[in-house]
């Protein structure tokens, strides 16, 4: 029995490998291959095309019921697919909040027609999504939303501004948390909607970050109309729907690690780029001495490897808890904080290894690895702010897990 099953899985692994070889972009994995520039239309098109191919082959779309376009497969096969994809480092999907937070939220709170209409096109990469939660005056205090929606027959008229929107540029649809009752108490005055990014009255523009790029954007609503049927969850209970989205986002934000056991694949050496950092340390000299021979850096790199490994086992533990019926929720704050702070430690550590060259950014011929490390160090500053600042997440751990008074 066992050997029959393992033979079947070995054959399946070969099948996945062959498919990947046949379907990856021309030249993928060779030094000559030039991936499209981040955040460009080319990158978006490649992501959409790749996800479509994967979906048609049955290699993505897991975790959702068939009637909403989900692909159902045994756990062992899913693990093999993810391992093989990880092994050759496939292209990223389209820039979208769809898989990360929209599909889980619609699945949990959406109306039947919404599940049927939107989830399949998220899974196959056809439609991209963005999310409108944060506002200039509603950051960590997210419930302090000022954007309003006023009912007009079968429609809602939206006015206001959202900020820190990921995938602001290519989104076809968006999620929106708006104030629908000026007199109701906090947390009971918000509703949750799906909106069409092509609707009149909607405009968007880039927000440039300290990295120099505009990964995030701002969205403006000027009498934009949303059909009433786009309401997700109960009227005036949008806050509670948003909590689902935020927990889903945080779980994805824990570096894939918390999505489920078996997804955090990779060996001890390759997890979180440990191997690359060791190589860099071996090839970098400071005052004539190889960095990898420096006991202080050895300690720090080892510590980083330990943390990366530890995050993987914590993900497996979380998955084991969920199999036993525990809800995935507040413990996501633990993983999100840990991985965000790890990213910062990694960035700082590598830049300290590089010395004077840590100043050189992309565009300089002197930049190490085309400035990737500097970019990552800068980008990691946002990691402890987005998806709930580290402080908000510590509050969640203290109040909702440990039960300390608010």
């Amino acid at each position: 029995m066992v050997s029959e099953e393992s033979e079947r899985l070995a054959a399946f692994r070969q099948e996945v490998r062959d498919w990947l070889r046949a379907n990856l972009p021309e030249g993928w994995g060779t030094p000559e291959y030039q991936p499209p520039e981040r955040l460009t239309e080319e990158a978006q098109a490649l992501g959409e095309e790749w996800t479509k191919k994967l979906y048609d082959a049955g290699y993505t779309g897991f975790g959702y019921p068939k009637e909403y376009g989900g692909i159902v497969r045994p756990r062992e096969e899913i693990a093999i697919i993810r391992e093989e994809m990880m092994r050759c480092g496939t292209p990223a999907g389209p820039m979208s909040q769809g898989l990360l937070m929209v599909a889980p939220t619609i699945l949990a709170h959406g109306q039947e027609w919404q599940k049927k209409r939107f989830i399949p096109k998220i899974l196959n990469g056809e439609e991209s999504w963005c999310q409108g939660f944060s506002e200039p005056d509603a950051g960590s205090d997210l419930a302090n939303v000022r954007t309003t929606a006023v009912r007009d027959g079968d429609e809602w008229v939206v006015n206001g501004q959202k900020v820190w929107t990921s995938n602001w540029k290519f989104a076809d649809y968006g999620l929106l948390v708006v104030k629908t009752d000026p007199d109701a108490p906090r947390h009971r005055n918000l509703s949750y909607f799906i909106f069409d990014c092509n609707a009149p009255g909607f405009t968007r523009r880039p927000l440039r970050q300290m990295t120099g790029e505009a990964e995030f954007g701002e969205m403006f609503f000027d009498n934009m109309r949303i059909p009433h049927e786009n309401l997700v969850g109960e009227f005036n209970r949008g806050w509670y729907v948003a909590l689902t989205s935020l927990a889903a986002e945080r779980s994805g934000g824990a570096g894939m690690a918390f999505v489920g056991a078996g997804t955090a694949v990779g060996t001890r050496r390759t997890l979180w780029g440990v191997e690359t950092i060791v190589e860099l340390a071996k090839n970098t000299r400071r005052r004539g001495k190889v960095v990898w021979d420096d006991p202080v850096f050895r300690q720090r790199i080892a510590q980083f490897a330990i943390e990366a490994e530890c995050l993987r086992y914590s993900a497996m533990r979380a998955a084991a808890r969920r199999r036993k019926g525990a809800e995935a929720g507040n413990d996501m704050s633990v993983g999100k904080n840990f991985s965000a702070e790890m990213r910062q430690r990694r960035g700082d550590m590598v830049l300290e290894m590089l010395g004077a060259y840590s100043q050189m950014v992309r565009g300089s011929t002197l930049a190490v690895d085309d400035g990737t490390w500097v970019y990552q160090m800068l980008r990691s500053r946002g990691a402890t702010i987005e998806m709930g600042t580290s402080e908000i997440n510590r509050n969640i751990i203290a109040e909702r897990i440990l039960g300390l008074p608010r």
């Binding site: 330990i306 084991a320 897990i401 300390l404």
Partner: protein, 378 residues
């Protein structure tokens, strides 16, 4: 790797917690701190009755035949209860070398006595330099007819005064490679020439001793394993002992976290519970997170040992450094959150604070284990 407990393991955990709450309250721990041996024969007898003393020994030698993960569950509860006494010394430090390298006669003679609580054992390796490593083993064992004569001093010997037998690592041959030429001798502590003196240590819950051997004759039938190959025998034991310490640290950390969170909920200053202040909340959140990650790594290491996974040594090193760092951070924060009361002798926090330090130095501190990880990445 399996991260959730099966039904039997859940039962073991519940039973251990109940047993230790009854048999090992802090009043008992403090009584043992004052005791010269740190060992209670009454508790020992009860532990034999519930099958703990031979927990991972095979049933043919009177053991319970359970696996290493089961043991780690028990160690967690022992760490939580701050249990004193020679449990780890007897079952792991001495029991495992006898099990893995002893002759059939030795196993039949000694293992049942471990399991039924008839005799207490320990191990003496470390000498004046304070490190558990082959080069530190300088004590001489000289052949005289069918006996070996042991001469020298051991330091940091745990539970030496409670022990009836001590496995002593001594040098039978000088060689280039310090790991060659070490032999393990099972010494009866009642022999003439065995002298122990208690070491005054910070952690009083786990007794350590200096042990002087003056021309102690050991018959060669009491050599554990092969002559000159004793160091190799200690490797498997060392791995398991290190992992057991990780479990103990996680269990202790859990007690400290719970105690601290409860205190933060009850202690009122400025008219409100101090746990409503964000600075206190964030310290508690950091304690919780540190414990979560320590537990993940500890369980992974215990599972790797149970599975005989070749990655076990790496995972154990990762766990040891992570658990020791976490236990120190948790006890640091706990004392700070408690304020004045946490700095007193009467409060039990300092027992955990001190155990965290003692456990860090035992079987390689965090810095040592991180360097091993660096070597594994080479």
């Amino acid at each position: 790797m399996e991260f959730s407990l099966n039904e039997e393991q859940e039962m073991l955990k519940t039973m251990a917690r109940d047993f230790l709450e009854n048999e090992c309250p802090k009043t008992f721990v403090r009584q043992m701190m004052e005791d010269d041996t740190g060992h209670s024969p009454e508790l020992w007898k009860k532990m034999a009755e519930v099958g703990w003393l031979g927990l991972i020994l095979p049933e043919e030698y009177g053991g319970s035949g359970m696996n290493f993960r089961d043991l780690s569950i028990l160690c967690e509860e022992m760490g939580r209860a701050m249990m004193p006494g020679p449990y780890l010394s007897t079952l792991l430090l001495a029991g495992l070398p006898i099990l893995s390298a002893g002759t059939d006669e030795q196993k039949s003679e000694f293992l049942p006595r471990i399991a039924n609580g008839d005799a207490v054992f320990t191990l003496a390796v470390t000498e004046r330099d304070g490190d558990f490593w082959a080069e530190g083993v300088q004590m001489k064992a000289t052949r005289a007819g069918d006996d070996y004569i042991l001469d020298g001093t051991k330091y940091f010997v745990p539970d030496a005064r409670a022990a009836d037998y001590i496995i002593v690592a001594a040098r039978t041959r000088r060689s280039e490679n310090p790991e060659e030429g070490i032999t393990l001798f099972l010494v009866n502590t009642a022999e003439w020439g065995v002298y122990t003196a208690p070491l005054t240590t910070m952690d009083e819950t786990r007794k350590q001793y200096q042990m002087v051997l003056t021309r102690v004759a050991v018959p060669s039938r009491y050599i554990i394993g092969e002559v000159d190959k004793g160091w190799q025998v200690l490797q498997d034991m060392s791995l398991k002992m290190t992992a057991a310490l990780c479990a103990e640290m996680v269990g202790g950390g859990e007690w400290v976290l719970e105690t601290t969170v409860n205190y933060a909920k009850e202690r009122v200053q400025f008219g409100v519970p101090i746990g409503s202040f964000q600075v206190i909340k964030h310290k508690c959140a950091d304690m919780y997170s540190a414990l979560e990650y320590a537990r993940s790594m500890m369980e992974a290491a215990a599972e790797a040992i149970r599975e005989d996974n070749p990655e076990a040594p790496v995972l154990v090193s990762m766990a040891k450094s992570l658990c020791a760092d976490a236990y120190r951070l948790i006890t640091d924060h706990a004392v700070q959150v408690h304020g004045g009361i946490g700095f007193t002798w009467d409060h039990d926090l300092h027992l955990y604070f001190k155990r965290a330090r003692a456990d860090d130095t035992a079987f390689g501190d965090s810095i040592y284990h991180r360097e091993l990880i660096a070597q594994s990445l080479d």
